[in-house]
Symmetry: C2
Subunit: 317 residues, 2 copies
């Protein structure tokens, strides 16, 4: 790495650049992600020089694939660590990843492309019916062992602390946004197949959760983390909803993304007091129980409230 002032024009060092998409949807109260290769990889491909921009190319591709406009795209992260490169490749690949939100509906999933429940890859992240039964035995206890196995005391303490914070042990609360930290911990401890295949150690029994090729599962974790954070301060859930929906459907979508249950009365109050939706006048008929009003997203809020608000105690005038 140079970063020196002499060379402003980059020397012709050349890297392969790969685009990777985390494409999310919610269907039937379950979070879904678009995959290829029978669920073993995220959609990806080489970055070609004739695209106008990274985003526009991704958008076009997704719209072709799903037959549906891609409501929201944002760049996630650019990965280039050599120690996480695709299996055995000497060459370094730079992966620029994107998060896209859409609806599953008309998914024409050509070939073996298709939507998967993303908790297939991270079963421990779904706590809608409480912490999964296998969590303590299959994951936490083994991570505790890994933490204790560190060389020196300082490292042991550090690992134990990371473990407690990531998984909400001791007094820490569970924080659904820390999905990437949890995955990294499990990876470092050598408990996922990806780490094993990369030769970090002999094969211990991998923990529950489907692996992916290369570092795609890490990229997926990054995307889920971003989405879980974003639903809290930006009205992005609506990109995943059908044109009209009931408040319970909306709540179920949020719960699917967060992997947690929310308090119904307070959730409704939140939605209403922020004026995020408007009544359509119709009611849903095919649901059990009392029929619910159908709402639609008030798209005007996107313009009105360009971004959340301040947390700084500003002065007037």
């Amino acid at each position: 790495m140079a970063l020196n002032e002499a060379a402003s024009k980059p020397i012709a060092v050349c890297s392969a650049v790969d685009l990777v998409a985390v494409l999310a949807a919610v269907t039937g109260g379950q979070p879904r992600v678009m995959t290829i290769r029978d669920g073993a990889a995220l959609p990806s491909g080489p970055f070609e020089l004739d695209d106008r921009s990274l985003q526009s190319g991704l958008r076009a591709w997704v719209e072709r694939q799903t037959g549906h406009p891609l409501g929201y795209v944002e760049q996630l992260y650019t990965f280039a660590d050599r120690d996480r490169a695709a299996e055995g490749s000497a060459r370094r690949v730079i992966s620029i990843s994107y998060l896209g939100l859409t609806r599953e509906e008309s998914a024409k999933g050509a070939g073996n492309a298709g939507w998967r429940n993303w908790y297939d890859y991270f079963p421990w992240e779904d706590r809608r019916s409480g912490p999964p039964a296998f969590l303590e035995k299959a994951i936490v206890s083994r991570l505790r062992g890994w933490a204790k196995a560190a060389d020196d005391a300082a490292k042991r303490r550090e690992r134990a602390e990371r473990l407690a914070i990531s998984f909400g042990l001791d007094d820490s609360p569970w924080n659904e946004e820390l999905i990437l930290q949890r995955y990294e911990l499990i990876y470092e401890a050598g408990l996922v197949e990806e780490a094993v295949r990369n030769g970090d150690r002999d094969t211990p029994a991998a923990i529950p959760g489907r692996p992916m090729l290369a570092d795609h599962r890490r990229i997926l974790a990054t995307g889920i983390a971003r989405l879980r954070a974003k639903i809290k301060y930006r009205p992005v859930v609506f990109e995943l909803m059908p044109p009209t929906f009931t408040l319970l459907q909306l709540q179920r979508a949020v719960e699917a993304l967060a992997g947690l249950l929310v308090h119904k009365p307070n959730f409704r109050r939140l939605i209403e007091q922020h004026d995020l939706v408007e009544d359509t006048g119709t009611t849903a008929s095919d649901t059990p129980g009392r029929p619910a009003k159908l709402y639609r997203f008030r798209r005007a809020v996107l313009a009105e409230r360009a971004v959340a608000g301040t947390k700084l105690p500003l002065t007037r005038s």
Copy 2:
């Protein structure tokens, strides 16, 4: 862009990859950014294949340059739009940008590298003494003209709305985080030298604010925006502070970053009730007025509160 499932190993399409750093500090109540080429560019250089990771290389480089550990590094964005490429180059360059926080102190700024007040590049972003005098005449009125000059009515409305939101006109409040949107607007309107040089139109008098080479000013705006957002929910200001400081110095640093004044009593209450600092027992002597207590950052908060909190109305148990 392919993203197709057949090609998972990227074809050997090759791009030049460039690293760019937005390195920030606060000195004497002013926000500073590390530059090279007499302030015309951000530190940058080709990405070399032997770095262990992008971040580690950046970190090493900065520590060599400033003689100071780099407290905080995060990836900003990866730029690759062809229409913003370096002047006249046919070749596409991918720029991976990073935000780093440090202290200016022992800046050994070799050669013509050095720290600059970042408001040299964005004078309209400093509102600590109110909106700058030139804002209305040199910027806003010209942007209004640009908005009115659009082809069709829809586009005119859209431009007027973007203008109002970005610059806090009409009823919108000023939002200091929208620095990138403001720069993009000015750029699109052809009012910055960078846009002029790229040949968008004949040279109108550029507005106040120093230009930079290529798209470095855009990258700087991205960095400032990220920092302005982050100080609100993460204790990152402290990376910019000396080991001990008074609460007023801390406040001045926040104000320098945000370009806005904060309410002193409430600011202190915020810091105290979040337990962000601890008393050192000493007081500052060289300041005017009543001597203030010196505090230090309670680094433990980094571990305790890994991340802010929830905005979702969760259910118990």
